[in-house]
C-alpha cells in the first residue's frame, strides 16, 4: 500500500538527492524511477531539466564508466561491476529519454559532455551496454540541434561502416540514423556510396522492423537530388533493389509503408529515369491517402509526404483530384481537435493540390471547407496560421472567382489583415501572399479591405526592416491599384507618400525595386490624370525611376521601369517631353541612353517594353512627335530599333515595325 511518504520520495528533488547517494542500489533505483517518470512526458522532462538532472546523470555515467575501466575484476568487485553496468545502462537510457523529441534535453545532454561517453560505450563488451548507448545516441541524432556527423573527416567513415556492420540491431539502426541526420551534400552522398554503404542499407531492408525503417530513411537521404547514387542503387541486378523498396509499400507496419513511399518519391523527384509511369504515380497517391487515416504520427506525417509527391507537378495534382484527394483531406479537416502538425500538413497538402489546376480549386470551394481554413488563421500555432495563408493563396489563384469578387468579403479579409500584425514575419509574409491575390478584384472597389485598415497596414509593412515583408507588401499594393479607380489610387498614394515611394524604388533590394516600379506602372495607367502622380514633390518619383533604369542590371527592374516611362509617354505633350528628358539627359558623345542597353537585352520582355515607349513618344497624332523622332534618331535610338526589324521575338518585331511605320509618316529621310 503506497504511503504518503513513498509518494513524496518520488518527487523530482528527492529523486535527484537519491542520485547523489553513495549506495549504488539507491542510485540505481532513483535512475530507474526518473527514467519511468520522464518517458513520453515532456512536462516531467522539463521539470527535471530545470533541477539540473542532466549534468548529474551525465557525471554518474562518466564515473561508472571510469570505475569499470579501471580495474581488475576481483570477486569483491563483481558486485560493484554489476551495479556499474546497470548504472551505465540506466543513465544512458535516462539521457536518451531526455533527448527524445525534446530539444532542450538534447542541448543539455550535449552541453553536459555526455556524448563522447556514450560513443565510447558502443565498444563495450557488454551487449546491453552497447544497446543502451546506441539507442540513446540514436535519439540524440533525431534532433536537428545535434551537430552534423562529419563523414569526410579522418576515420569517421570507418567508424560509421563499423556501426553498419555490427551484429546489434540497435547499432546498425544508429548507423543508418546518423546518415539520415547528417548526409546533406552530394559529396557526402557520393563518398558514402563509394564506401559501400548502399549494399549494407539494402541488406537492412530485409532485417528487423527497426532496421528496415532506419534504412529507408537513410536511403532517402543518400538519394536526395543525386541521380548518380540512385542509379548505382537501382541499376544493378535488374532493379531488385527498387523491388525491395516497392515491396515494403505493402508492409503491415504503417510507418514502413510511409517511409517506403517517401523513399520512392525521393527517387522519382531526383531522377527522371525511374518510377515515372502512371501506374506507380497512381499507386503512391492511393497509398498516401490511405495512410492519412492512421491516427498516430504516421497520419500526421502522411500529408507532408503527399505534398512532396505532388508539389509543382500538374500531372500528379490531376491524379490526386481523380483519386478524390480533396474530399479526403477536407474530411480530415473537419475532425475535432486536430494535432497542430497534422493540421499544418493537411492545409499544405490542400494548397499543393490547388496550386495549378482550376478544376481542383473549384472542387475545393464546392466542398465548403474554406471556413475551416479561415478558422485556422487564428490558431495558436504559427505553422498552422502560415499553412492556412498558403492554402488560401493557392485557392485565390482562381481568376474566375477573383473576377466575380468571390473572395473580397469580411470573413476572409479581416482575419488576414489581422495577421499583418502577427509577431512573426513569416506569418505576415504568408498573409501578404494571400491578400495579394484577393486584392485583384474587379467588382467591389476593395472597400472591405480599406475599411478594416488594410491599406494602412500594407504601407506600414512596406517600411519593414525585413526586405521580404517590404517586397510582399508592395506586391499587394501593386495588385490593389491595378485598374483601380481614381479615388482608390488617391487614397493609397496620399497614405504612401511620394517620398516613401521614391525610397522604395531606390531600395537596396532589387526585388523590392521591381515591385515598387510595378506599383507606379499601375498607378499611372488608366485615367490620364493619374499620370500626374509621378510629378508630385518636384518629380522625385520620376527621378528615382530614372536612377534605377540607369543603374540596374536586373531585367525585371528594367521592364517595370520602362513600362512606367511607356505609360507616362502615352500621356500629353508635357508627359512625353518628361520621358524624353529622362531618356536623353545623360546622353553625350561618350554616354548612350540606358534605353539602348535595354533594346539590346537578351530578354524579349525588356526589348518589348523599351520599344513600346518609343512607339508612344513617336505617336503620330501628337504635335511634338516629329521633333522627338529627330532627337531619338540623333541619340542612336531609332537606328538601334531599325536593326531590330527581324527580332526573333514576334511581339518585339511587330512593335519595331510600328515605330518604323510611324517614322515613315513623317517623310522618307528618317526611316
Amino acid at each position: 500500500m503506497p504511503t504518503a511518504s513513498a509518494a513524496l520520495a518520488h518527487r523530482p528533488m528527492d529523486l535527484l538527492n537519491r542520485l547523489a547517494s553513495p549506495d549504488p542500489d539507491i542510485k540505481l533505483k532513483a535512475l530507474r524511477e526518473i527514467k519511468n517518470q520522464i518517458i513520453g512526458n515532456r512536462t516531467k522532462k522539463l521539470a527535471f531539466l530545470k533541477l539540473g538532472a542532466i549534468p548529474t546523470v551525465a557525471s554518474i555515467l562518466a564515473e561508472a564508466d571510469s570505475q569499470l575501466a579501471q580495474g581488475d575484476v576481483s570477486i569483491a568487485d563483481k558486485n560493484s561491476n554489476h551495479y556499474n553496468y546497470n548504472i551505465i545502462i540506466q543513465s544512458a537510457a535516462v539521457l536518451g529519454s531526455f533527448a527524445c523529441g525534446f530539444d532542450a534535453g538534447v542541448r543539455a545532454v550535449l552541453d553536459a559532455g555526455a556524448f563522447p561517453y556514450l560513443v565510447r560505450l558502443l565498444s563495450n563488451p557488454d551487449e546491453k551496454v552497447v544497446d543502451a548507448s546506441a539507442r540513446s545516441i540514436r535519439m540524440i541524432y533525431q534532433s536537428k540541434l545535434t551537430p552534423k556527423y562529419e563523414f569526410l573527416k579522418d576515420k569517421k567513415m570507418e567508424f560509421l561502416i563499423s556501426l553498419l556492420n555490427s551484429e546489434s540491431e540497435n547499432v546498425t539502426g544508429l548507423g543508418a540514423s546518423i546518415i539520415t541526420h547528417s548526409c546533406e551534400t552530394s559529396l557526402e552522398q557520393t563518398s558514402l556510396c563509394d564506401a559501400g554503404v548502399l549494399h549494407k542499407l539494402l541488406s537492412l531492408l530485409d532485417g528487423s522492423l527497426c532496421q528496415r525503417d532506419a534504412s529507408l530513411e537513410s536511403l532517402a537521404a543518400l538519394f536526395r537530388n543525386n541521380p548518380e547514387v540512385i542509379s548505382k542503387f537501382v541499376g544493378p541486378e535488374s532493379g531488385r533493389a527498387l523491388g525491395s523498396i516497392m515491396g515494403l509499400t505493402k508492409d503491415r507496419n504503417p510507418r514502413t509503408r510511409l517511409l517506403s513511399c517517401m523513399c520512392l518519391i525521393v527517387i522519382r523527384n531526383s531522377s527522371s529515369c525511374y518510377l515515372q509511369d502512371i501506374g506507380i504515380k497512381t499507386k503512391l497517391v492511393h497509398l498516401l491517402l490511405e495512410l492519412l487515416d492512421d491516427p498516430g504520427q504516421v497520419g500526421d506525417e502522411a500529408p507532408f509526404v503527399f505534398s512532396s509527391l505532388i508539389m509543382e507537378k500538374e500531372d500528379l495534382q490531376k491524379l490526386a483530384f481523380e483519386a478524390n484527394a480533396l474530399d479526403k483531406f477536407s474530411n480530415h479537416l473537419q475532425n475535432f481537435r486536430l494535432h497542430p502538425k497534422r493540421f499544418q500538413g493537411i492545409l499544405l497538402a490542400l494548397a499543393d493540390i490547388c496550386s495549378k489546376l482550376e478544376s481542383c480549386r473549384s472542387r475545393f470551394l464546392s466542398l465548403q471547407v474554406l471556413n475551416l481554413v479561415i478558422d485556422a488563421l487564428t490558431h495558436d500555432s504559427a505553422d498552422v496560421r502560415t499553412a492556412a495563408c498558403i492554402c488560401i493563396r493557392s485557392v485565390t489563384r482562381s481568376i474566375k472567382n477573383l473576377c466575380a469578387g468571390y473572395f473580397m468579403n469580411e470573413v476572409l479579409v479581416i482575419p488576414l489583415v489581422q495577421l499583418l500584425n502577427d509577431p512573426l514575419a513569416s506569418v505576415q509574409v504568408a498573409a501578404l501572399g494571400a491578400l495579394s491575390n484577393i486584392l485583384v478584384d474587379f467588382t467591389t472597389g476593395k472597400s472591405t479591405f480599406v475599411q478594416c485598415g488594410g491599406v494602412k497596414q500594407l504601407i506600414q509593412l512596406s517600411k519593414s526592416m525585413d526586405s521580404t515583408v517590404r517586397l510582399n507588401a508592395l506586391w499587394a499594393l501593386k495588385n490593389m491599384v491595378f485598374l483601380a479607380d481614381d479615388r482608390c489610387k488617391e487614397g493609397i498614394f496620399m497614405e504612401l507618400t511620394a517620398s516613401l515611394l521614391a525610397s522604395l524604388i531606390c531600395d537596396h533590394d532589387p526585388f523590392v525595386q521591381e515591385q515598387a516600379l510595378a506599383f507606379v506602372r499601375n498607378l499611372i495607367e488608366g485615367s490620364i490624370s493619374s499620370v500626374e502622380f509621378v510629378f508630385t514633390e518636384s518629380g522625385i518619383i520620376l527621378d528615382a525611376v530614372r536612377k534605377q533604369l540607369e543603374n540596374t542590371s536586373k531585367a525585371e527592374v528594367g521592364i517595370q521601369g520602362m513600362y512606367v516611362l511607356c505609360n507616362l509617354a502615352s500621356g500629353n505633350e508635357f508627359h512625353k517631353e518628361a520621358v524624353m528628358q529622362q531618356l536623353l539627359s545623360q546622353v553625350d558623345n561618350e554616354t548612350q541612353s540606358f534605353i539602348i542597353k535595354f533594346l539590346q537585352s537578351n530578354d524579349s520582355r525588356l526589348r518589348t517594353a523599351a520599344v513600346w515607349a518609343i512607339v508612344n513618344l513617336t505617336f503620330p497624332s501628337s504635335p511634338g512627335a516629329f521633333c522627338r523622332l529627330v532627337k531619338l534618331r540623333s541619340a542612336g535610338i531609332v537606328p538601334q530599333i531599325r536593326n531590330m526589324v527581324n527580332d526573333p521575338c514576334l511581339d518585339v518585331k511587330l512593335r519595331v515595325r510600328t515605330v518604323l511605320g510611324q517614322a515613315m509618316t513623317f517623310g522618307d529621310g528618317l526611316s
Binding site: K400, W475, F482, L483, R521, S527, Y563, N602, R605, L617
Partner: protein, 214 residues
C-alpha cells in the same frame, strides 16, 4: 525570398530561350487590363442593328490556354443600362485547345465554316481539316485564334431578354490589337460579327498595367 510561383499576365518565365514550349506567342496587346471597343452586328430577319461593345481582358493563363474578361454591350434596346457579361476564352495553341471546339453544339464542319471566314486562317485550312491543327506551330504567327464563351451576366438578370447560349470564334491581330469574331448559336442568326479595336482610352499611345498572382 518568397516562393514565386507566379501565374502572370506576362509570362515571366518565358524569354527567347523557351520559345516552342508555348504557342501562340505572348502579345502585349492581349494582356490583362487591355481594352477593346467596337461593334457587334446583331441582325435578324426583321432588322439590322449594331451594338457598341467594350471588352476588357481580366485574366490570362497562357500555360493553360486560358483567357477571361468582360464584355459590355451598349445601346441594347431591351436594356436600360449597358449589359455586362463575363466570358472565358480558349486559346487555340495546339497544346491545350485545337481548332475543333468539341462542345457547345458546334460540329467540326461548323468550326471550319467559321474559321475560314478569317482570311488569316487560310494557310491552316488543309491541316486543320486533317487533325484540327494539333500539330501546327502557331508560335510565330501574328494572329491568335480563340473561342470566347460568355458565362454569366454581371449586372442584369437572366430575364433581360438576351441570350448568352452561344460563343464567339475570335481572331486577334497581334500587329494592331484588332479583333474580329463571329457569334455562333444554333438558335440565333448566323455569323453575327464582332469587330473591335484596341483602345487607348483617351491616351495618346498605348499603356499597360499588370497584376501578378502569388
Amino acid at each position: 525570398m518568397p516562393v514565386r510561383v507566379v501565374e502572370t499576365s506576362a509570362p515571366t518565365q518565358i524569354s527567347g530561350a523557351h520559345s516552342g514550349q508555348i504557342s501562340p506567342p505572348f502579345c502585349t496587346l492581349l494582356s490583362v487590363g487591355q481594352a477593346f471597343s467596337g461593334t457587334q452586328n446583331v441582325s435578324s430577319l426583321q432588322k439590322d442593328e449594331a451594338w457598341r461593345v467594350n471588352v476588357r481582358i481580366q485574366g490570362c493563363d497562357l500555360e493553360h490556354g486560358y483567357l477571361c474578361g468582360t464584355m459590355e454591350a451598349l445601346n441594347v434596346p431591351m436594356a436600360d443600362t449597358p449589359v455586362v457579361t463575363f466570358w472565358e476564352g480558349e486559346i487555340v495553341d495546339g497544346k491545350n485547345y485545337s481548332f475543333f471546339t468539341g462542345k457547345w453544339e458546334a460540329s467540326s464542319e461548323d468550326d471550319i465554316r467559321h474559321w475560314t471566314k478569317f482570311p488569316s486562317f487560310s494557310p491552316f485550312l488543309c491541316q486543320v481539316e486533317v487533325d484540327g491543327g494539333k500539330s501546327l506551330d502557331l508560335s510565330n504567327y501574328p494572329y491568335i485564334f480563340m473561342r470566347w464563351k460568355e458565362q454569366y451576366f454581371v449586372n442584369v438578370g437572366t430575364d433581360c431578354g438576351l441570350t448568352i447560349a452561344g460563343f464567339y470564334y475570335v481572331c486577334f491581330s497581334c500587329t494592331d490589337g484588332s479583333i474580329s469574331g463571329f457569334y455562333y448559336d444554333p438558335n440565333s442568326s448566323p455569323f453575327q460579327k464582332l469587330e473591335l479595336k484596341s483602345t487607348n482610352e483617351g491616351r495618346s499611345g498605348f499603356s499597360f498595367s499588370s497584376y501578378e498572382l502569388q
